[in-house]
Amino acid sequence: MSQPVTGETLDHYEIEKLVARSGMASIFRARDLDSGRTVAIKFPHPEMEADPVTFDRFKREQDIGIALDHPGVMKVFTDAKRTGRYMVMEWVDGRLLRQIISEQKKFSPERAVNILIQVLEALEYIHTHGVVHRDLKPENIMLDDHDGIKLIDFGIAGKEGSRRLTFAKLSQVMGTPDYISPEQVKGRRGDGRADIYAMGVMLYEMLTGATPFKGPNAFAIMNDRLLNNPIPPREIDPSITPQLQEIIYRAIERDPKNRYAHAREFAWDLQHQDQVGVADRAELKDWHKRKSPLLRKILFYLMIAAIPIVVFGLLLWVARH
């Protein structure tokens, strides 16, 4: 099916404008001629329709969008009269959180907390409905003029990886390297706590202006969270309160068992920061010690090499005494 053009009528939708184009699909603003309301139409690229993996992602996003109904989640409309493969969604006037972060770098703690609490409320709703987003990032959160939020793009929400793919599709199957949880890096599917981890990373980014884990490429960034601790937020900006820093650390715990179990607990702490106890964390002391896989490997081989030396030394000592 070819892409629609401005002014064209697609079923009962009049295409008004192309508003975005990604690797997977084009998004158009359109008017529903039956109801008169403005809608967004997501139209997959023809070559994407031929790729079962990306097309599955598109279909999954549509199914999940139809099942969810929350003011913080972009609504997807069912339409029995639709003749082509496209998705009709509610129109949201706003901008992506990514655009705002790129422009402003850092948010005030009050604004960051306000945005995060709304996202956590939406997350609590989707988690109680059995859906895990698994790819939360500023690109998937829309903000209106009053900082009201909408979660978008549930493409890998239900994903169970099995097919073989090239490295270029890493983000599509595992998640975005900057926001992916440690358990996802280790190949587990990840539950609601993977979304909480991504929100912790986003809070860190909004308060400090940088994501916590670094590396020269996606593979290194992904693995960095399993090896190293991030720079403490208060080292970057001392105006961040110890309580807010503690909340970030609780959200980005490497082991999901130690993380907030539910989005509502994370939101509660953000709303009652004065009641948050600040732990004496090892991460605050040894964050500057950087570990690399190569160093670990060298140390391992040095230890192996040291074993016969130690044994020989012991035998020598026993022989002399």
């Binding site: 690797g23 690229h45 070559e47 031929a50 790729d51 079962p52 993996v53 990306t54 097309f55 169970e160 990886g161 099995s162 097919r163 073989r164 793919l165 090239t166 490295f167 270029a168 599709k169 890493l170 199957v173 595992m174 890096v185 280790k186 190949g187 587990r188 599917r189 593979f219 693995n223 399993l226 090896l227 896989p293 190569l294 670990r296 490997k297 391992f300």
Partner: protein, 290 residues
């Protein structure tokens, strides 16, 4: 002579015996099988080989075996694997005699990479839509040189024991090698098929090349992940060791992979070494060893 294959269940075999080789020359028996498997409706694998048609060609070029496993939606995987193997076979036939095999194979894989990359760009102007793994084995005198990209493998089977000569280029294998994952975590990883390197994904590709000495009685097995994901190494060694005929052994291996799994395409190339020509090298030139 070319032997490319990708059919629903394609078998082909050959031996140097028809040429009545000299007793001191490299002599091999081979068979290649590419099967769609039990679940898939089309075959994205492609296998091919170049066999020398004269004694002079045995010494100047030797044999080339190549196996590719396509990645991509619709028919893109099929196109990628076919283009990659055909590029390698054509390049090998045109190569000047006596060229060092490790350099030649690296050059041919690079050429295959550019060919697939361009085909992908032509099919999808917005980005590359196709890629493939490849494993190629060139045999001359008493050396086998293996070049590979992706997770298609080459095994050396000696005295009934199968040894993997290639290292899978997957994200999980790289994490395992760096000590980030344990062997158990790697085995349970839900994206263990995510390739860290593939032919056609980028304009340049890093090729791994392995050079190994071969002995009479050895066998080399090239296979795709549909095969090595299903059949354990111990069984590969047993079957190849117990079945003298290469065609029968290759058939048995594919049949076993289908019985154990069969959810993916299955392709193997089995090369049995009957005799080798022992050669040494002096200042880059080969000389005969007694």
């Amino acid at each position: 002579m070319l032997h490319p294959h990708r059919e629903e269940s394609a078998y082909s075999s050959g031996a140097a015996a028809a040429r009545a080789p000299q007793s001191s020359m490299l002599d091999i028996d081979f068979a290649q099988v590419s099967d769609t498997g039990r679940s898939r409706d089309h075959n994205e694998d492609y296998v091919g080989c170049v066999t020398p048609d004269s004694d002079a060609r045995v010494r100047s070029h030797g044999w080339l075996f190549s196996l590719a496993d396509g990645v991509g939606g619709h028919d893109c995987g099929e196109v990628a694997s076919r283009e990659a193997v055909e590029t390698m076979l054509t390049g090998f036939r045109k190569a000047p005699g006596g060229e060092p095999l490790s350099g030649l194979l690296t050059r041919l894989v690079q050429a295959a990479n550019i060919r697939v990359y361009e085909a992908g760009r032509a099919a999808s102007p917005g980005g590359t839509s196709m890629a493939t793994t490849i494993v190629a084995c060139a045999i001359r005198f008493d050396r086998a040189v293996i070049a590979h990209v992706g997770d298609s493998r080459c095994y050396l089977i000696r005295r009934g024991h199968a040894k993997q000569l290639t290292r899978d280029h997957t994200v999980v294998n790289d994490q395992l090698r760096l000590g980030i994952l344990s062997a158990r975590e790697a085995a349970d990883h839900q994206n263990k098929h995510l390739l860290s390197r593939s032919v056609g994904a980028d304009l340049f590709v890093n090729v791994d090349v392995t050079d190994t000495q071969i002995l009479p009685g050895d066998a080399l097995l090239l296979c795709c992940d549909g095969f090595h994901g299903a059949v354990p190494e111990a069984q590969i060694g047993n079957i190849v060791n117990n079945m003298e005929d290469a065609k029968a052994a290759a058939h048995k291996l594919v049949q076993l992979a289908n019985e154990l799994d069969g959810s993916d395409n299955i392709s193997v190339q089995l090369v049995r070494i009957r005799n080798v020509e022992r050669m040494g090298m002096y200042r880059g030139r080969p000389y005969k060893l007694r």
